[in-house]
């Protein structure tokens, strides 16, 4: 079996006095798509945002436990969140391109991390990122147009290109398709599948079909607890827990 790239041990997350996650134990395997499913408010986003420490931005949010990325504790005092987030990219539910040109959107991460010294190198990396995100054909002739002049699905792929431009190890996606129509969703799903060979992807989704289609492993959360975690096929065909059974058949949620 593969070594896990991310492992959570006894993770508890609190918002002020209320606890959002209880004792999460979870191993994410590299180069696989891991889907997080569960009813609304069960803590999927909270868990996802713990991995790149975006929860640090919420003053009342408190983390307990151990979360390692490639064996390193990411909540260790020596960890700089800037370095962490360069390794763990994120795509948000609502496409949020910067109010800049398409090119600058993708180039931004490369610029702040000083990853490209020469201009041609920068252009190559931007082109490569847009190609990986399956957007190059559509935007190659209009790179200096504003990012939000694109359609919703194109904007979301632009955000994916922006995230992978800095070549992170892990890409976190929080319901990336919930604002998109079925055709744009299908395009992104294909994209996620093709990105799997280079990245580890953790995706939150409310669509059981989507989880079944694109993920290899699925984690089912309920009321802040990790109820069941395993091969996607197993979870959807022979779930062990009754709550999982009820959720995937649509009886809770």
């Amino acid at each position: 079996m593969l070594d896990p790239i991310i492992s959570a041990r006894g993770v508890n997350v609190f918002y002020g006095d209320s606890q959002a996650l209880f004792d999460i134990e979870l191993d994410v395997l590299p180069n696989k798509v891991t889907a997080l499913i569960g009813p609304s408010g069960c803590g999927k986003s909270t868990f996802l945002r713990s991995i790149n420490r975006m929860n640090d931005l919420i003053p009342v949010c408190r983390f307990e436990g151990e979360l390692t990325l490639s064996g390193q504790d990411i909540y260790d005092k020596s960890v700089d969140v800037v370095a962490l987030r360069a390794q763990v990219g994120m795509v948000f539910q609502k496409p949020n391109p910067f109010p800049k040109s398409i090119f600058e959107n993708v180039a931004y991460g490369l610029r702040i991390h000083k990853m490209c010294t020469a201009k041609s190198e920068l252009q190559d990396r931007v082109e490569w990122s847009l190609k990986s995100a399956g957007l190059w054909e559509e935007v190659s002739h209009r790179l200096d147009e504003p990012g939000n002049s694109l359609s919703g699905g194109q904007q979301q792929r632009l955000c994916i290109a922006r995230a992978i431009a800095v070549q992170p190890k892990v890409v976190l996606m929080d319901e990336p398709c919930s604002a998109l129509d079925p055709i744009a969703t299908a395009v992104i799903e294909d994209l996620i599948d093709s990105l799997r060979k280079d990245y580890t992807i953790i995706i939150v989704t409310h669509s059981m079909q989507q989880a079944a289609r694109i993920s290899q492993r699925t984690a089912f959360f309920h009321l802040g607890k990790l109820v069941e975690f395993g091969e996607t096929k197993t979870i959807f065909t022979t779930p062990k827990d009754e709550r999982t059974q009820n959720y995937i058949t649509g009886r809770i949620g």
């Binding site: 975006m54 800037v82 370095a83 948000f92 391109p97 991460g109 702040i112 991390h113 504003p146 990012g147």
Partner: protein
């Protein structure tokens, strides 16, 4: 069939009536405010129209033996030559009292005007030349029909003899009315016919420049820190409440602060635009901070989140993504604050910018006055001609204000990204 018409019930009639009533009230309110605005503009424009043109009087000036004056005086005046020229035009006037009235036709400043002419073309010295000099405000008012000649002679400004002399001058073509450039190019003066707005205008421009140079960076910096970086705590709440309260503090209090701090403690030059600008800056800072914070808050947080998730540091996220989007709003807010400062009189009185300034200030350290203070000073003067100056100065102030707002709009258009 369902009735969708007026009589369908649902209190439709009552609602329509309420709608119509409200629309009427709104229209009346707008009409009232427009009426007062128009009345204000009309009266000011009417009063100010008097100074568009200015009367000049032509003199046959004998400067044949005036060469010594320039050498012996630092500020030479040719008042004697002016008087002689007037006497020469009316040789029959002999009585001392009458001569004095005659001299009153030319402005007391005419002697200095001639000195300036000699500076420009020295060849007129030692010759007899015809020159146009500014006439006194009394003559100007008479020519414009502003002197009531139906009153008994003792009560009017222009006697019968003067009236006849003026008629003679007019017949001989020695009087003319020209565009009053002097109003825009002169400093203040005790003589209304030569008093100009330039010294106050320059003083205001300097003060506002100092105000902007100080208040904008400080205000924007404070707003960015408070809005984006400051941890939420009791202290930050307290600061917030205080800033909001400071915005409502009467401006004269800031004048007192400037008096004791900038003049008393730091010993900055009194009456200078530097101190005036700093006082105005203190006054506008709270407004600017509040406006800038509102502009920052209106930037969608998703930009900042996206940048942070990419590994940008908080400062990078703010300065690359939040600041540029908020910039037009912050600028507009600042210019609104500056427009407030432009009309402020009280704090400037406190720090001595109420001085009588003839010379145009050439730096922010020289004594100066400001437009609203100048208006206040002129409005306070008894001479009738100063009433017109007051109105004209108000127009200059309004034009200044409108141009500032125009700049704000243009800058906003330019900075507002197309994204």
């Amino acid at each position: 069939m369902i009735d969708f018409g007026k009589n369908a019930g649902f209190d439709l009639k009552g609602r329509h009536r309420a709608e119509a009533r409200f629309q009427w009230m709104g229209k009346i309110a707008i009409a009232i405010s427009l009426f007062f605005l128009a009345a204000m503009v009309f009266t000011i424009a009417r009063d100010a129209s008097g100074i568009i043109k200015q009367t000049q009087i032509q003199l046959q000036l004998d400067l044949t033996d005036a060469t010594g004056i320039a050498q012996n005086n630092k500020h030479p005046s040719y008042g004697k030559a002016v008087k002689a020229a007037l006497r020469a035009q009316f040789p029959k006037v002999k009585k001392r009292k009458d001569k004095k009235r005659l001299y009153g036709f030319a402005s007391p400043e005419a002697g200095f005007e001639i000195a300036r002419m000699i500076d420009e073309s020295p060849e007129i010295l030692g010759r007899i030349t015809k020159v146009w000099v500014t006439a006194s405000d009394g003559l100007d008012l008479y020519l414009r029909g502003k002197v009531d000649m139906d009153l008994p002679e003792r009560q009017r400004r222009v006697s019968d003899a003067e009236r006849d002399w003026i008629a003679t001058l007019q017949e001989q073509g020695h009087l003319r009315r020209v565009f009053n450039w002097g109003f825009l190019t002169n400093g203040d003066s005790r003589e209304p016919e030569v008093a100009g707005i330039l010294s106050a205008l320059v003083g205001t421009a300097y003060s506002l420049a100092v105000c902007f140079a100080f208040a904008f960076p400080v205000g924007i910096g404070a707003a960015i820190y408070l809005e984006e970086f400051a941890p939420k705590s009791r202290l930050s709440d307290l600061i917030e409440v205080n800033i909001n309260n400071l915005a409502a503090v009467p401006s004269i209090v800031f004048g007192l602060l400037g008096l004791s701090m900038f003049l008393g403690v730091f010993g900055m030059p009194r009456s200078s635009p530097l101190v005036g600008g700093l006082v105005l800056a203190l006054m506008t800072l709270p407004t600017m901070i509040i406006a800038a914070r509102a502009a920052l808050r209106s930037v969608p947080p998703s930009f900042k989140e996206g940048a942070l998730a990419l590994g940008a540091s908080p400062v990078q996220a703010v300065f690359h993504h939040v600041f540029p989007v908020a910039m037009p709003g912050m600028l507009t807010g600042s210019i609104v604050g500056m427009a407030q400062a432009l009309g402020e009189t009280a704090p400037l009185l406190m720090i001595g910018m109420v001085a009588f300034i003839v010379d145009i200030p050439t730096s922010i350290l020289e004594p100066a006055t400001a437009l609203p203070v100048q208006i206040f000073l002129w409005a306070d003067s008894p001479e009738r001609a100063f009433t017109e100056k007051t109105a004209a100065a108000i127009i200059v102030l309004l034009v200044f204000l409108v141009s500032m707002n125009l700049i704000a709009i243009l800058l906003r258009r330019k900075l507002e990204t197309r994204f």
